[in-house]
C-alpha cells in the first residue's frame, strides 16, 4: 500500500490549497450537473422552463385579433409576461426545486453520506453544490428568457424585430432581462439552498416567500427592501409602473439603483451561503429522521 500512502500524504500536504478545492468543486459540480440535467427529478425542471413558452408558441401560430398586438407594444407585453410568469413563477419555483433538492433530495435518496464520507471540506461541498444549481438554473431559465422574447417578437414582426435587435434597443433589453434572470437565480438559489438545509418540508417556507414577494407592492419602502423581487424590479429595462398599475393600495418606492441593488444582492447571497456552510459543517446524517 506504499504508493497509496504516498498519494494520501501528498493530498494531505495540499489539503489547504486552492488547487485541491477547485478540483473538488469541479468534481462535485460534474456529479451534480448530471443529476440536475439527466435524472428523473429534472423532468419537472424542464416542464417548468418550457411552461411560459407554450402560450407564446400558440401566439406565434395564431395572431390575436384587434390592434393591441402591435410591434410598439411588444416591449410592454414582454415586461408584463417576464415579470408575472417567468420571473415570479418559473424562476422562483424552478430555483426552489433545483436548490432545495441539492441537499434535501440527497437526504431523501439516502445518498448524501457519500459526500460526507469524502475528504472534502463541507464548505467546499456547499460551494460545489450551489455552483451546480446556479449553472443549471441559469442555463435553463436564461434560455427560457431569450426564447420567450424571440417567440414574441419574431414570428409576426420578423424584419422589424431584426432591426430592433441589431440596431435598436432590443439587444440591450434582452441582455438586461437575461442579467435579471441570472441575478434571480443567484438570490433565490442561495435562499432555497439554505431552506433545504434547515427545514424538513421546504414547501412551506417557499410558499411564504412566494406570498411575501407577491405582496411586495403593498409593503412600506423599508420592508420592500427585505425581498429579492424589489431589487430585481429595480433593474427592469422597462419599469413596471409604466406598464401596469398596482392598484390604490400599492406603496410606491423609489427603485434601488443598479450599483446598489446588484452588490447588495450578491452580499446577502454570500451571507446566506456562509450560513449554509455553517449548517452543513454541523450537520448529522440520520436518514431515519428525514
Amino acid at each position: 500500500m506504499s504508493s497509496a500512502v504516498d498519494v494520501i500524504d501528498a493530498t494531505e500536504k495540499s489539503s489547504w490549497s486552492w488547487g485541491l478545492w477547485l478540483r473538488q468543486i469541479r468534481a462535485i459540480v460534474g456529479l451534480e450537473l448530471q443529476k440536475n440535467f439527466l435524472s428523473r427529478r429534472s423532468i419537472l425542471i424542464y416542464l417548468i422552463a418550457v411552461l411560459p413558452l407554450l402560450p407564446l408558441l400558440i401566439l406565434a401560430v395564431v395572431r390575436p385579433p384587434g390592434n393591441e398586438f402591435d410591434f410598439n407594444n411588444l416591449g410592454k407585453i414582454y415586461a408584463v409576461f417576464y415579470h408575472g410568469l417567468i420571473l415570479r413563477t418559473v424562476i422562483f419555483f424552478g430555483c426552489a426545486w433545483i436548490f432545495m433538492n441539492l441537499f434535501r433530495g440527497e437526504l431523501v435518496d439516502r445518498s448524501l453520506h457519500y459526500y460526507f464520507l469524502s475528504a472534502v471540506k463541507r464548505e467546499v461541498l456547499v460551494a460545489g453544490k450551489y455552483l451546480s444549481g446556479l449553472i443549471t438554473s441559469i442555463v435553463l431559465f436564461t434560455a427560457t428568457t431569450v426564447v420567450a422574447m424571440w417567440l414574441l417578437y419574431f414570428p409576426h414582426f420578423s424584419s422589424q424585430s431584426a432591426r430592433y435587435f441589431t440596431e435598436g434597443r432590443g439587444l440591450g433589453q434582452l441582455l438586461a432581462y437575461a442579467g435579471i434572470t441570472m441575478l434571480a437565480c443567484v438570490g433565490y438559489g442561495a435562499f432555497f439552498l439554505v431552506v433545504g438545509l434547515f427545514v424538513r418540508n421546504p414547501i412551506i417556507p417557499a410558499l411564504l416567500l412566494y406570498g411575501w414577494e407577491w405582496l411586495n407592492f403593498l409593503l412600506p419602502p423599508l420592508l420592500k427592501k427585505i425581498s429579492v423581487i424589489h431589487y430585481l424590479n429595480s433593474l427592469m429595462p422597462i419599469p413596471l409602473n409604466l406598464v401596469v398599475t398596482e392598484g390604490p393600495l400599492a406603496v410606491v418606492a423609489e427603485p434601488t439603483p443598479a450599483y446598489i441593488s446588484i452588490p447588495s444582492m450578491l452580499f446577502v447571497t454570500i451571507l446566506v451561503l456562509i450560513l449554509a456552510a455553517y449548517r452543513t459543517r454541523h450537520m448529522e446524517i440520520s436518514y431515519g429522521n428525514d
Partner: protein
C-alpha cells in the same frame, strides 16, 4: 495499550442521545490496529458508534479522535478513513465504476489516479466484470461489494464496515474475510460490526460487546471469557476413563460440575479457574492415570460470551 494516540481510535467519555433516547453512553475505549468487531443485538448502539467515529453523528458529550484526527474535520479524517455504511442506497443512474471513481474525484484525485485506484478496488472485491453495469441492476451482494470497493478505493488506514458480510454468498464471504485479514496484516485498523458470531470469532483480534448503548465487555475474546467468573468455563475432555477423571477432579474447589458425555467417551467439566484445571489434568496424564484424546473449551467462543453477557443467542447465522 502501548501505541501512541496518533495510531489509535480513541473514545473519551462519549455519549450520544437522540433527544431523550440513548444511543451510546459513557464510552471510553482505545482501539489499536487489527480487526476489532462490534457485537451486539439490534439497537445495541453498533451503528451509532460507527457513525460517531466517522462524524456522521456528533457526540452529545465527550470527544473522539481517529489516529489523532478529530471527527469534525472530514477533509483530514477521510484521507485516512473509509466507511462502508449499511445504507443500501446509491446516487441515481451510476455504474459501479462511475460510483467508485466519482467519489475519488471528490477526494481530489486526478482522472488518471482515480481510474487506477478504482480498478484496484474493483479487483479487490471481484467486481471488474460487472463494473460498467448500472448499480441499480446489481444484486444485493454486488451492491454490498461495490460499497466496499468505494470505501477502500482511496486506500485508507482505518476501515469501518457496518455489517459488511450481509448479503454475500458463502464463497464471497470467505474471500471478503480473507481480504479483511490481509488488510489487517498490512497494518490497517478494521472496525467491523457483525451479528454472525462464528465469523466474528474467525476474523477478530478483539471484540467490543455492546448492549443497550453500553459497552458490556471489550478485549481479546478469550480474555473476555476468562474474566467472566460468574460463568464457569466449560471444558470437554475426551479420554479413555472419563468416570475416573470425574472422581479425580471433583474434589477440587474450583470445579463446580463434572458430567459424563452422552457417549461415555468424554467428560464435561465446569471450572472457575481454567488454568488450575489444566495443571491438574496435566498432572493426571503425567502420572499415567488416563489417556487423553483431546481437550477443548466448549464455551470459549463469541457465541457463548454473547449469550452469557447479553442473554440471547445473538442471531448467529
Amino acid at each position: 495499550m502501548s501505541e501512541p494516540a496518533n495510531q489509535l481510535i480513541v473514545f473519551d467519555n462519549v455519549s450520544k442521545f437522540y433527544g431523550e433516547i440513548l444511543g451510546v453512553n459513557r464510552v471510553n475505549i482505545q482501539i489499536a490496529p487489527g480487526i476489532t468487531s462490534l457485537v451486539g443485538p439490534n439497537g445495541a448502539g453498533k451503528s451509532t458508534l460507527m457513525n460517531l467515529m466517522t462524524g456522521l453523528l456528533r457526540p452529545t458529550r465527550g470527544s473522539i479522535t481517529l489516529l489523532g484526527i478529530p471527527t469534525d474535520q472530514p477533509e483530514r479524517l477521510f484521507r485516512k478513513v473509509g466507511y462502508c455504511t449499511q445504507f443500501d442506497s446509491f446516487p441515481r443512474g451510476v455504474t459501479g465504476r462511475e460510483f467508485v471513481s466519482s467519489y475519488l474525484f471528490v477526494h481530489g484525485f486526478n482522472q488518471k489516479r482515480a481510474s487506477e485506484l478504482t480498478q484496484v478496488a474493483l479487483e479487490r472485491v471481484n467486481l471488474v466484470d460487472a463494473a460498467d453495469r448500472k448499480v441499480a441492476a446489481y444484486s444485493k451482494g454486488m451492491r454490498q461489494r461495490i460499497r466496499l470497493a468505494q470505501s477502500i478505493a482511496h486506500q485508507p488506514s482505518v476501515l469501518i464496515l457496518d455489517e459488511p458480510l450481509n448479503g454475500l454468498d458463502p464463497m464471497v464471504r470467505a474471500e471478503t474475510i480473507a481480504l479483511f485479514r490481509k488488510l489487517a496484516a498490512d497494518g490497517l485498523h478494521l472496525i467491523i460490526s457483525s451479528h454472525i458470531l462464528h465469523e466474528v470469532d474467525m476474523m477478530s483480534d478483539r471484540v467490543i460487546l455492546l448492549n443497550n448503548g453500553y459497552i458490556v465487555a471489550e478485549g481479546n475474546i478469550h480474555g473476555v471469557r476468562d474474566e467472566m467468573e460468574e460463568h464457569p468455563m466449560q471444558i470437554l475432555i475426551r479420554c479413555d476413563q472419563p468416570a475416573k477423571l470425574a472422581a479425580y477432579v471433583f474434589g477440587q474447589n474450583h470445579v463446580v460440575e463434572a458430567r459424563l458425555h452422552d457417549d461415555r467417551g468424554g467428560l464435561f467439566v465446569k471450572t472457575r479457574d481454567a488454568d488450575r484445571f489444566y495443571l491438574l489434568l496435566n498432572r493426571a496424564v503425567s502420572e499415567g492415570e488416563l489417556n487423553v484424546e483431546s481437550v477443548a473449551p466448549v464455551d470459549d467462543d463469541m457465541s457463548a460470551v454473547y449469550q452469557y453477557l447479553i442473554g440471547s443467542s445473538g442471531g448467529s447465522a
